[in-house]
């Protein structure tokens, strides 16, 4: 059953399309008058398909029976997106805004259903830039199989925000019987990631251009719900999943150790990483464990399901480099320890603030 067409809102109103002629967004586009209507019609509604299209109501409406047929709990999440620059190798703020919320739903075992999208625009933004971002959101939502069902646009004075901020909120339905969570890791479980770490963090830092480095590293930004479907099917005993975004893999593993009251032992040699990301980190003195990812999940599975989980992940295009990176232990609950390549050990803590490049 395709939920996006099965749960319509109101029937599409007769489109009153007027192409937008201005080149830049002004405060008038947020004023609630016809200029705003034109912006929404021309930029948003022409891109966003599905339930929200041209709905004259103030809210998207969902048929509960259709949702309940898909699972037994509703998942609900929100995330704000601010990224500089707006466009970067491998993605842009629009793609990020869809993937981020889709992934936050999916790691809870939910099938993402619909997103809302609130955009705050700094006056002076080129309409073309906005169009590209919105188009990217639409394309990503389509790829992930979710609707952008409702939204809001505000325009603020120059300097009141930085070009474009996006907030997406999502709902999804959690499969009946599936109960994954950050408190559920048990000693003996294995810790798995679905691929190469640190690409997004390195790509963004580099895209800012301040460091004058040239590299082909692109963000790994991707919707992971499809990959997660295959993982859930292959490893029914799955304990938890998290997407390893800000704070990198280190932050997620620490959260898991703390919440599950277990120790985690990572194995440095098994961390999958691109040589360019390692080179990038060596030059700037960064630790790749703390670099953000936007298309990576960390999953904890019972030891007996490790091979099945790995095989399922590796069979998916977004999981080819999946690897077991560590093990849940009963030692030092709440602590993450990494076995270095020599069998030495170090504690992997969370970062205090942002990771800054260092010279010394």
């Amino acid at each position: 059953m395709n939920i996006s067409t099965a749960i319509p809102v109101a029937p599409p109103a007769a489109a009153r399309r007027r192409p937008l002629t201005q080149k830049i967004v002004t405060l008038a586009h947020g004023g609630g008058g016809s200029a705003m209507r034109d912006l929404i019609d021309d930029v948003f509604l022409s891109a966003f398909s599905g339930a929200g299209r041209a709905a004259p109501e103030d809210q998207a409406r969902f048929d509960l029976a259709a949702l309940m047929a898909r699972g037994d709990r509703l998942a609900f999440t929100t995330d704000g997106f601010v990224v500089d620059p707006l466009f970067f190798p491998g993605g842009d703020i629009g793609k990020l805004a869809v993937c981020g919320t889709v992934n936050d739903l999916a790691v809870g075992g939910a099938k993402p259903v619909a997103l809302s999208c609130a955009i705050i625009i700094e006056e002076g933004l080129e309409v073309e830039t906005l169009r590209r971002v919105v188009h990217s959101m639409a394309e990503t939502a389509h790829a992930a199989g979710v609707d952008i069902a409702t939204g809001d646009t505000k325009v603020v004075a120059r300097g009141a925000c930085d070009k474009l901020f996006i907030t997406t909120t999502g709902i999804g339905v959690i499969r009946a019987g599936l109960d994954v969570g950050v408190t559920k890791a048990r000693p003996g479980d294995r810790v798995i990631v679905n691929g190469l770490l640190g690409d997004h963090g390195a790509a963004i830092l580099n895209a800012r251009g301040d460091l004058a480095l040239e590299t082909a590293i692109a963000s790994d930004c991707a919707p992971l719900n499809g990959l997660i479907d295959t993982l859930i099917a292959a490893a029914p005993g799955l304990r938890m999943m998290r997407d390893a975004t800000r704070g990198g893999i280190a932050a997620v593993v620490n959260e898991l150790a703390e919440a599950s009251k277990v120790g985690v032992r990572l194995d440095e040699l098994s961390l999958p990483m691109r040589p360019e990301v390692m080179g990038f980190c060596e030059i700037l003195g960064l630790d790749p464990l703390y670099l953000a990812n936007e298309g990576k999940i960390l999953a904890v599975v019972p030891a007996g399901e490790t091979e099945a989980a790995l095989a399922a992940l590796r069979a998916h295009p977004l999981g080819r480099e999946a690897a077991v990176i560590g093990e849940v232990t009963s030692e030092r609950p709440g602590r993450v320890v990494m076995r270095t390549r020599f069998g030495g050990e170090r504690i992997v803590d969370m970062l205090v603030g942002d990771q800054l490049p260092r010279i010394c």
Binding site: A212, E276, E282
Partner: protein, 99 residues
């Protein structure tokens, strides 16, 4: 103090300004080569050389012979340790082999 990383010079960026492009694992950066250039020799001679890069400056040419010599000493220590291991069989393994 002083993060430095080996990279290979892959191109001359601006001979007059003494700038070359260095590659570190696929990441490239324009660096100042005043400290590693032979006085009077064309900068093209540097292409292919390995240098130690610190904050945008090539600070030292890496001496491949010296690197090999250090590794040779290390491998001798490794062999000696292996022989010792063979002599004292059953001694406790200090390190587990990585997976």
């Amino acid at each position: 103090m002083c993060l430095g990383i080996p990279g290979q010079i892959v191109a001359v960026a601006d001979a007059e300004a003494m700038l070359c492009v260095v590659d570190v694992s696929g990441v490239r950066r324009t660096v100042d080569v005043v400290c590693v250039a032979e006085p009077g020799a064309p900068l093209d001679d540097l292409v292919g050389a390995w240098v130690l890069v610190h904050v945008g400056f090539a600070m030292s040419r890496i001496d491949e012979e010296e690197a090999a010599a250090t590794l040779k000493v290390l491998s001798e220590i490794g062999e000696a340790a292996a022989e010792m291991e063979a002599l004292t069989q059953g001694s406790v393994e200090l390190l587990s082999t990585p997976r």
